[in-house]
Every structure is written in structure tokens, then in C-alpha cells.
Symmetry: C2
């Protein structure tokens, strides 16, 4: 078999969800691309890996020292939303409803995987609160066991800043979710956090 | 959002089966790779696209003028197995049971997609038969409408070589297939091509 084909197939198999067959299918697709297109795919991968940086303020992915969100003077610098990973930041950004800043932890506390508080950007968050510019921290991390552990740890750390309001995003029934299929814990939360509505 | 991330995501979306979300997941995975690993993935893609060639004899993918199969002196040069695409050749090679040569057509005749006989490597196959070295041509192309059209076209062309035996691979019930779920056409073929077995 061709060494070049062998090579590209085993390299592609490093990607998540790509097995032997998928790798071959991807390689055959790459073969049909114009050479410039394949080269630009290749160079986008190595440029991304070699040149991407983490924002020195919020730990978001960035092309420069500060990410576009942190350097945007139009955004509300008094609110910081704490998320687990960059994908979560992007999900919130996609709503177009949030005008504050972010803080990307880079994971959650997980003793099982050997991830402790010092492996996350928690000190960096604490540093941001020292200036007094931040008035509210919104914690938007997942409700897994690790997420809850991280939440408790954060709440404890944030006690040191009595002037900073702390909130978590609402838990409840998602739009379009059918009650029949929603888990008990979510329903329990949704009932407990019910909102009074104005009659008529 | 980061331009570098944006870029790699839209490039990855050129791959089959990769949408916006998968592209982001792949990008995040690439971010976790060692830089050398990401660079070697990237360079394997562009080297494959830029340096791969087609074997001048059988049209298989090759790193050089002749593919490893055509240049292997241990193989039986009197038998040529005609396949649609390189993946099919690889499936047959994986059985380890075939010692002859191959001929990769590069597709099947498909008037709907504007693919005619001249778009396939059929003339190259005819050229190979002129030397008289080839004694048998095994046609191993799919049983789709396009495959059958290609088969009939090939049989017609091969009439010009009366000394060359032509065969097609057997159609029948695959190992492990349950009769209950096999389509009628396959069962019909399997019945018609039944083989007598020795009793006791």
C-alpha cells in the first residue's frame, strides 16, 4: 500500500471518532480536493495549533494577548460569566443576549481525573476581582458531580469578595422539552424555582 | 471570535460528515495535541494530496510510477481483477487470498452524473490486454444499475480479446447474513447459482 496514504490514514485516526474506515473515506475525499484546498486545510490546522493563545484576562482562545471580547470596550465590564470551556462561551455568545465578560476555567474539579483547583484558572479569576470593577459573577457550569464540586469550591473562594454578587444560571425545563422525558432532578428544581405569574 | 479558530473550523467543515459542532470538537481536540503531532497531521494531509500518484499500469494510488502490487514480482501477472475504486482493491487485499494484479477503473459509468466510459480507465485496461500476458479478467464491481451498465460495457469491449477469460465474482448470501433479511434479488441469484455438494 502507498506510504503516503498509510500515513495520512493513521494521522487522521488521531482525531476523535475517526476509525480505520472513516480515515480512508476522509483521505479519498482529500484526494478529490483541489491541491490549494487541501493545503489550506493542512495549514489551518498547524497554524491554529501553533499560533493560538489564551487570553491573559479571561483564558478564552485568542489570536492576541487579549481576546476580542475582553478588548471590546462596548461590553459590560462589571459582569463576568464563569464557564467550563470555550465551547460554552460560544453557546452563550450565540444567543446574542449577554453583554458582559467571561472567564473560562478550562475544566472542572475532578479528583478522579486528577484535576484540582490549581489546574483551573481560578486564581486568575480571583485576581480579576481585586480591582473592584466586577460587580457580579454568574456561574454557568454544568450540573454534573464535578460541576457541583467546582461550584462549591468557587462559592467558598468568592466569600473573600463580599461586594461581588454571585449567581448561577437558572435550572429548569428547556424550551421544547417534554415533561414526560425530563429527569426527576430537573423537575424538582423547576418546581422549587417556580415563578409567580400575573393573572389575566 | 478567534480568526485562527474560525479558520480551522471552516476548513474542517469541508470534510464529509463534519458540521459546525463536529468541526469545533475536532479543533478542540487538535488544541490538546502536542504541536508536533498537530503539525504531522497537517503535513501528512498536504503531502498526501500533493505527492500521491496513480500507478501508470493499474491506476491504484501509488507513491511512485508503479504501485507496490504491480511492481511485486511474486504476484500472478496473468490475472487482473477490475474494481471500481481503491477502497475495493484494499478490501480484496485484506482477505490475503488474491495473488493476481488489479485494475482500478476510478468509478462506474453513470449517465446521470455525466460519467461516460472515457472518464474511466477502460482504455488503459484494454492496453494491458494487448501484451497477451493477461489470461483472466475478474470483474469485481458493484451490482448497482451503474455497476451493471459498466459490466455490460466491459464485456462488450473484452470481446476483442477472445483468449482472455472473463469472470465476475460470485453473488450470493454473505457469511453471517440471515436469509430472512436478505433481498429477493440476492436470494434469486444464490438459488440459481447453487452448488452441488458431496453427500456423506
Amino acid at each position: 500500500m502507498s506510504q503516503l496514504l498509510d500515513n495520512v490514514c493513521s494521522e487522521l485516526q488521531r482525531l476523535p471518532g475517526v476509525g480505520k474506515r472513516t480515515a480512508l473515506r476522509l483521505a479519498m475525499h482529500i484526494l478529490k480536493m483541489e491541491p490549494e484546498v487541501a493545503n489550506s486545510l493542512a495549514s489551518s490546522i498547524s497554524r491554529f495549533r501553533n499560533e493560538i493563545r489564551h487570553c491573559s484576562c479571561c483564558n478564552n482562545l485568542s489570536d492576541s494577548e487579549l481576546c476580542p471580547i475582553c478588548s471590546d470596550t462596548q461590553r459590560d465590564r462589571s459582569t463576568v460569566c464563569v464557564v467550563e470551556q470555550v465551547q460554552d462561551l460560544m453557546s452563550i455568545e450565540n444567543t446574542g443576549q449577554y453583554r458582559g465578560l467571561y472567564h473560562v476555567l478550562g475544566g472542572v474539579i475532578s479528583p478522579m481525573q486528577g484535576i484540582g483547583p490549581s489546574d483551573l484558572k481560578i486564581d486568575l479569576l480571583a485576581d480579576r476581582l481585586l480591582t473592584g470593577e466586577v460587580k457580579e459573577v454568574i456561574i454557568a457550569i454544568s450540573t454534573s458531580v464535578e460541576g457541583e464540586t467546582t461550584l462549591f469550591y468557587l462559592l467558598n473562594r468568592l466569600k473573600a469578595y463580599p461586594d461581588v454578587k454571585v449567581s448561577t444560571i437558572a435550572r429548569g425545563i428547556g424550551f421544547g422539552d417534554e415533561l414526560e422525558y425530563v429527569d426527576e432532578l430537573t423537575i424538582t428544581h423547576a418546581l422549587k424555582n417556580r415563578r409567580e405569574v400575573v393573572k389575566g
